[in-house]
């Protein structure tokens, strides 16, 4: 089941540099593991912003929330979620 997610990262300017570096590294590893599992299907950077548009493929809302609330940067993010489905004009039989 697909979800469209926009994540905006807002790091406090007084966050110590080493702490920021460490969290961002954990964030990347966390994201890549989920990408490899197929649950984080797409991630794109939005040009000019510290933000991304992502598409998740999870089994239900609970799994989506566990993934998002587990993000190392979660407490520094503003997140917006929209449930997606196959579009009737899609040329493909599935939701890719």
């Amino acid at each position: 089941m697909l979800f469209h997610v926009r994540m905006d990262v807002r790091l406090p300017h007084d966050l110590p540099q080493e702490e920021a570096v460490e969290i961002i590294a954990r964030e990347k590893a966390y994201s890549q593991e989920l990408q490899r599992s197929g649950k984080w299907r797409h991630i794109w950077r939005i040009a000019g912003e510290y933000a991304n548009y992502s598409v998740f493929d999870v089994k239900d809302n609970t799994e989506l929330h566990e993934i998002l609330s587990g993000l190392p940067l979660f407490k520094f993010m503003h997140i917006e979620v929209a449930p997606l489905l196959r579009h009737p004009s899609s040329i493909r039989g599935d939701d890719t």
Copy 2:
């Protein structure tokens, strides 16, 4: 080059039914031709709304505008565009 596009369709309630059906059929054909060409890479319905999130892969801004302004439903749509790029945390080498 990728662009994230959100399209919201707002048909006037006094649009004659046959006219609406005809435009929507042309819209679908137009979209599917672009999907087959690879330029309209993704299209997803947003649950509960007469709207979609799409990803376009075009050679430049001009091509994007020609595609969007050529939509049969263009004059009944509100459209928002954001330029995308490969995310540094992506596990893939390209922007898919």
Copy 3:
């Protein structure tokens, strides 16, 4: 799987009275059938507004969209959807 939905109805003021009455009657029948099936778990009127807050229990995003886009009043509604899940502070084991 639960979804929180807010529906705001905006009937055009020049909609013929008999047409309005007929659509609203179909809307009510449609809603009640879904309530009886358990898919439309709650529906509450928001005081002072032609609007409701509802909770749907469906198997996935696709079913949610089919239900909402099938509403007789769909083209006169503004709809907002949010995916829900059991809250960790809930005293119940399920998502009721």
Copy 4:
């Protein structure tokens, strides 16, 4: 009498960890006591957000305010309240 409430929690990032843990524990206990009493009828997590949608069943506005302003997390919350009532399309005779 029913009220729909949305609560968004915004913990300051420099809140000491132990203080956060302690407040959240008190919040949970407070919420569960009210759930057991029947006054906090529903609480759902909104997927991807540190937020909830709740439904309260209280005797009047004063009791609602006493409950909400007594929340241990109250000073870190943004709260929106809407009065609810039985919807005329409900299949049930009461406001459940």
Copy 5:
């Protein structure tokens, strides 16, 4: 129980003059009857706008909704409701 209500009236510019006059007359009679009963405790015009701030004293949310949805101008209004209560700094023992 008190509610704060803001009503903004938006008459369609093509509403026939005699129809407008007739609705506004019914609106006034309806409002004055409720004022005399004590349920519509205050009504003030907002300077420069076709709008009012009102305070209602009703027994519950259901009664509030019946009153508001029964307004002859209801379908031409945008309405916002907020539940009120006695303020702890009030010098009066009741909610006046």
Copy 6:
């Protein structure tokens, strides 16, 4: 002359507790003195929020500003003002 005022209080979370207590006590005394003088005609708590709706009866804009800018909590408040007058549908001859 009447003014409708909405006040939202936003205390910084790192304001020392004793300082907060002292300001709130001064705020209450200040408000009650103005209520007794008849200038602060109404004050109501908005359910679920650290906010109030008030009605002031002052001789002009200058007096209103002196009262509001003199509030002990003024620097922690967001304030919105709207000038009011007797509504033409009021059953009373004055602006009460």
Copy 7:
């Protein structure tokens, strides 16, 4: 007593040309009479918009509302009012 007013004019595109011309002429005459009386102290066009910023000098809120609601274009306007007073940094003793 001074009030700052912003007026945005929105003529329906299907308003007959002769009707528009006639209303605008009455609007101008109405405005100029109030300017000559000193009650409409300033009126400025906002560059690029069918809108103006004005300053009114009236004896109270009621007079302000009578003037604004009497504007021939009132039903085609969106109006915002803010009460003004002499600024403490003004070099003048009055509110000019």
Copy 8:
């Protein structure tokens, strides 16, 4: 050439009192010098807010920006600018 300017002042609550007093004094002197020169034609306090509406008469955009960015409180202000001109309904031949 005229410009309409709204300035909202937002002093950080942890700004030392003596620093605030000193900046505000410099702000007042700076404003009064510009008022005496005729460039800051009007300044009015907005009732209930730490804000003002002003009208500037400068020779071009550059001079306007130099004046505004030179305000001692500039870094604590939110500023909105709108270019003005003589209104066609004005009874005066100039832009006063």
Copy 9:
């Protein structure tokens, strides 16, 4: 003197086709004449929208307003204006 202008065109869907074509042709001729005179320095289409960003070089606010309010599409446009000036980091001595 430079101004940044955003224009959004909103043609009513029931505008007769021949009328739309005629207005758009006049709009183009009007724009091109101003471009040739150097007053409409830049005009760019915003991808995906019936809108443009433009830069005008005019002698004052009055000339800007005359140009914008003279646009054949003016009554179908939403326009936003911002005064510009040479940026202190510009490598050029003028405002190009």
Copy 10:
């Protein structure tokens, strides 16, 4: 390929003065190097604001993001990007 960019700078008020001066100097050098290369085609100050409107000419979205995210002030900026193209009414054959 052109992009319209608005940058709003928000320096934290507690940023040490010497740090601010140093970053702003690096920002200026960075901007000027890109202007000389032709990639940062225009930069204009918005009158009254710590903000600019800029036009970039880059080969794709990726280059745009590298430039913007490399700004020394990036973490203190709010940035909005819109893809541009030659307007059909332009008198020039290219997108200048």
